[in-house]
Symmetry: C2
Subunit: 211 residues, 2 copies
DNA sequence: GTCTATATTGAGATAGAC
DNA sequence: GTCTATCTCAATATAGAC
């Protein structure tokens, strides 16, 4: 006989997982401080002591959530090494992968962004900087490769890195504030290509160039 | 005889203004929900009823704060019309003005960003979208001028607009997360110039262009 | 206008039975 | 592991004197 007396329970998922899911949704929508443990357990369809049993307290479930997410992203950054193709293609592919991963985790990312760029909301400290720096390092490395292979102009490594990171960031923010615009991966690709037309060296003529 | 028994009072500013200042600082650093009215009045060096006298409640002081800020920004956008120079210069000047205004109001902007892109934190709704759209419209207009005057490529108006807005946004975010990097107005200008090298039409040779 | 004192609600967290 | 019942404290907000 299947136990299913609440919408949240209907899928028969373990309470611990239901709590993580409801906490993610609520923290993302209302913020860390504005979300109460009462709501979390209510949405998860369990009672309070269950939350305090699996996680030590409100900070505990937040930390668990965040660590799961940051690990996923770090793993993705570490995995990006064996890619082939021209520097430009590699950058496009890299940005696309990052963006796809972000779309899959848009809820948690909304929370991360608001805490990294905004007030901490009383949430326990998490070192988002190390991730940011890793991302930056990866992009910079890809840009330097492009320079080495003469595909990019030889100067302005920093500015190129920043322009690319900026495009990623902005596309994420459109997704956060206006997902209905359908900017998405295609939008990011278009903006990156626009930036490339400035980044790419102009030694030889490029195909498709007019006049 | 001057009354000055607290650091917050020492400048002899009216309680109403002191409350607005302390609320701005606290909302920006801790977030709307995590900031308590107790803290606000404590930092301002007044007692609770003073807050409830001047502003109706916690939401009231928040709304007052926000409306003051958004009015300032709207006014700046409206004021930007009588500028001269080439489209590129006008865009650079516009972005620089925006960025300067933002630096002057970085605290309130941190709060705005976290609420616009992130969870609402239980704060009352404010229509940030109308400002975002106005900003977008202004930039798009400047881009279209550049196209009309043949200074920019004739296609990709949207992408150009987005690339420019992205650069502004990103420079703000660096200011929010890493002000010590000293990215600032110069950084924004450099990145914009990098993007321009892709936006500028390539009909004729530009001065300073090599090879 | 500004204070002291207090009402009231809701938050995080736990004791202890099952 | 999960529940009911409850503790404790801090939050928003106000009454009423000055």
């Amino acid at each position: 006989m299947i136990k299913a007396d609440s919408a949240a329970k209907s899928l028969n998922i373990a309470p611990r997982e239901r709590l993580l899911a409801s906490a993610t949704e609520l923290f993302s929508r209302k913020g860390y401080s504005a979300t109460t443990t009462r709501e979390i357990v209510a949405v998860a369809g369990v009672t309070k002591p269950v939350l305090y049993y699996y996680f030590r307290n409100k900070e505990g479930i937040y930390l668990e959530l965040m660590h799961k997410a940051t690990n996923k992203f770090e793993a993705m950054l570490d995995a990006f090494h064996a890619e082939t193709g021209t520097p430009k293609k590699r950058i496009l592919s890299f940005c696309d992968q990052i963006f796809a991963l972000i779309l899959e985790n848009i809820e948690i990312l909304r929370l991360v962004y608001s805490i990294y760029y905004g007030p901490h909301q009383g949430a326990p400290f998490i070192d988002f900087d190390s991730f940011e720096l890793k991302l930056q390092k990866t992009v910079k490395h890809l840009v330097q490769e492009g320079i080495k292979k003469k595909e990019f102009q030889k100067e302005y490594v920093e500015d190129m890195t920043w322009a690319i990171l900026g495009a990623i960031n902005f596309s994420i923010e459109i997704e956060l504030s206006h997902p209905e615009w359908g900017f998405g991966r295609k939008g990011l690709k278009r903006v990156l290509n626009l930036i490339f037309r400035g980044i790419l060296a102009r030694d030889g003529k490029k195909k498709g160039e007019r006049k």
